[in-house]
């Protein structure tokens, strides 16, 4: 035995020792439990040994003292195999435990996939360009989706749209009656807030009674429609995205398509119709609740009687103010339904995609609601409505 040098790498119970039974052969003797649940030695000591002695052409093993092993041991051998291959050193696997060689062969049976450049980190400029391209493609896709929805509505008008009435009724119930409690709560609170903030200012001029104008006008033209829209975006738009997204993941949408039933008519149209029909009703209801909330504050804190409040509101607020709000609510309903359905239908095939679709649906719907509200307010102001 020439040059019986010994290297050790101790990590708890698992360790190995190196010696040279022949001039050109390095022998690795394994000891202890080579299991994943313990700290495992690395092959660095072997690497150093091989660097220090260029004459070694073979590596042999002795596993007589190896008590147990699992993937930790396999991993050591895989790394060692790579090192040996790089140095053109031959491994003599004869004394390895039974089964090791078969697993090593299994691991090497399928060559690694050569490229996965899709996931290589890109430069800032590339990412910026990709984001811009993606944005353009998404915008075009959204317009396409809107066009399809319009065509579906046209089919509906001609009596050719294919969807289940039961589905429409179910969605009507979900986004109508079932939304009443939350719409009630939010509208009353918004009415109260408007009344309180307004009345505090008006009180300085002794004009508290005008709080009725402020609340009723605010609710009728803006707040009822907008708050209902935002509530429905968070509640119903998210539900649409999650439902359609899950159907996409489960290939239910594909099943419709292959049956020749347009998902736009079967899935999107009932939801669009339901929200467009229900939103004005919810908006009217939110108006009533908001005005009632304002009345509670006015009567409770500022000695304005209910008759005074209602009379004041009736004198100064016209039907057109409510019509503007109701018109907005129809637009907001369409926005919420289209955003929810769009992101649901485009969510991809994974559960993570469903979560992302839901978030995107809510955020986009709220952004579009604000944008649309600004546009309508701007136009009505210019036109003088």
């Amino acid at each position: 035995m020439a040059n019986p040098m010994t290297a050790e790498a101790d990590f708890q119970d698992s360790r190995y020792e190196l010696d040279q039974p022949r001039q050109d052969t390095l022998r690795i003797r394994f000891f202890g439990d080579w299991r994943l649940r313990e700290q495992l030695p690395t092959s660095e000591a072997v690497d150093r040994y091989l660097q220090s002695d260029e004459t070694i052409r073979h590596i042999a093993f002795d596993s007589g003292e190896l008590r147990s092993w699992d993937s930790g041991f396999l991993n050591f051998l895989v790394k060692l195999g790579k090192t040996a291959a790089a140095r053109q050193i031959v491994l003599d696997n004869r004394n390895l435990p039974q089964g090791v060689e078969r697993l090593l062969a299994l691991a090497a049976a399928v060559p690694p996939k050569a490229t996965y450049s899709d996931h290589a980190p890109a430069s800032l400029l590339v990412r910026l360009g990709e984001a811009a391209t993606r944005f353009g493609a998404t915008a075009a896709d959204m317009v396409g989706f809107l066009g399809e929805a319009v065509l579906a509505l046209a089919n509906l008008a001609r009596g050719r749209a294919r969807f289940q009435t039961s589905e429409l009724l179910l969605v009507l119930q979900e986004c109508g009656v079932e939304a009443l409690p939350i719409v009630t709560l939010i509208s009353i609170l918004v009415g109260m807030i408007l009344a309180f903030v307004g009345a505090m200012q008006l009180k300085m001029f002794g004009a508290e009674v005008y709080v009725a104008n402020l609340v009723t006008l605010g609710m009728a033209r803006e707040m009822a429609a907008m708050m209902t829209g935002i509530i429905m975006a968070g509640r119903t738009g998210a539900a649409f995205a999650a439902k359609l997204g899950t159907m996409q993941v489960n290939e239910e949408v594909d099943a419709l398509q292959t049956l020749g039933i347009p998902p736009m008519e079967f899935l999107v149209l009932p939801r669009l119709l339901a929200l467009v029909l229900m939103m004005p009703l919810l908006c009217i209801y939110a108006n009533l609740m908001g005005v009632f909330g304002g009345l509670m504050v006015a009567a409770g804190m500022f000695d304005i009687t209910a008759v005074q409040y209602i009379t004041q509101a009736k004198v100064y607020i016209g039907l057109v103010d409510f019509q503007v709000g109701i018109f907005k609510s129809v637009i907001f309903g369409a926005v919420v339904a289209l955003c929810g359905c769009y992101y649901g239908m485009r969510c991809g095939r994974s559960s993570a995609g469903v979560g992302l679709a839901t978030t995107s649906a809510v955020v986009s719907a709220i952004v579009f609601i604000i944008v649309c509200d600004s546009l309508v307010t701007f136009v009505t102001t210019i036109v003088g409505i």
Binding site: D33, R37, S68, S71, N75, V78, V100, A107, H119
Partner: protein, 273 residues
């Protein structure tokens, strides 16, 4: 060495008198007087069988008989209506939650669809149990993950997301995750469902290799006859009508000698063995 030879296949036929858990040599997993139910609806009752160390055990039966439900009871996802499940001699459902977690760490499960976490790459999927339950440094974990993926033929796919690979590959990646901690017991729920014959055959080979190399006890829920005959040492047949097990033994022996015609018909794919 902490490895176990595969036991000889049992040929017990027991439609009316199932074997006691201790009938065969060291039982790794024992199901005793198990009753499975959803509310008041009993799915299966009087389940009694044991699985030896290093054994490949098949749970088979007609559709809706409760095969997957039994698996869910065995892996701690659903508590039994009555009866017990023992890992070695330790009753799983009578154990404290910490002890249950410890027992479950000895198992790996391949779900029917792979059940990979879709927001994580394959690397992250397989690495998670290693990160949680081993003291290995990140670099070693990365190497082990690469090894596990290579074992299932997915070397180089570490950075792919589940949505970017095929169903068969997802299943194999699920197996790599199930094997991450080198479990003593591997459970497979319909492993060959959705796989082409060649992939299913590869999976069978891998199951046999794992048992041969590591002595892993393997429990498979399947009704794929090719797989059953290729890999099984022992099996149990659950009957949906009688809501109980009606046979236990090596499937080849059951095909030839089982007194229950239903079992022979099942194993001969509609004929009568």
């Amino acid at each position: 060495m902490d490895r176990f030879p595969a036991p000889a296949a049992q040929t017990t036929l027991s439609p009316t008198n199932p074997p006691t858990p201790a009938a065969s040599a060291p039982a790794h997993l024992t199901v005793a007087d198990l009753v499975m139910a959803y509310g008041s609806y009993v799915v299966q009752r009087d389940l009694n069988f044991s699985i030896g160390r290093g054994e490949i055990f098949i749970i088979m039966g007609d559709s809706g008989c409760g095969k997957s439900t039994l698996l869910r009871h065995m892996v701690g996802l659903k508590p039994p209506a009555a009866g017990s499940i023992y890992y070695d001699q330790e009753s799983f459902w009578d154990a404290e939650p910490e002890a249950r977690d410890r027992l479950l760490r000895r198992t790996g499960i391949l779900y029917q669809s792979g059940a990979l976490w879709s927001s994580m790459t394959l690397q992250e999927n397989v690495a998670l149990p290693l990160r949680e339950y081993t003291p290995l440094p990140p670099r070693q974990i990365e190497e082990i993950v690469a090894l596990k993926l290579a074992l299932v033929g997915l070397a180089g796919f570490e950075r792919f997301y589940p949505a970017e690979i095929s169903g068969g590959m997802r299943k194999r990646a699920g197996l790599a995750r199930a094997m991450a901690l080198d479990p003593e017991i591997l459970f497979f729920d319909e492993p060959s469902a959705g796989l082409d014959p060649i992939s299913a055959n590869h999976l069978d080979d891998l199951i046999l290799e794992l048992r041969a190399a590591l002595g892993t006890t393997i429990v498979v829920v399947t009704h794929d006859l090719a797989s059953i005959f290729a890999i099984a040492d022992n099996s149990v047949f659950l009957d949906a009508e009688r809501r109980s097990m009606i046979a236990q033994g090596n499937p080849r022996d059951l095909l030839e000698h089982c007194p229950e015609p239903k079992v022979r018909i099942f194993l001969s794919r509609g004929g009568d063995g």
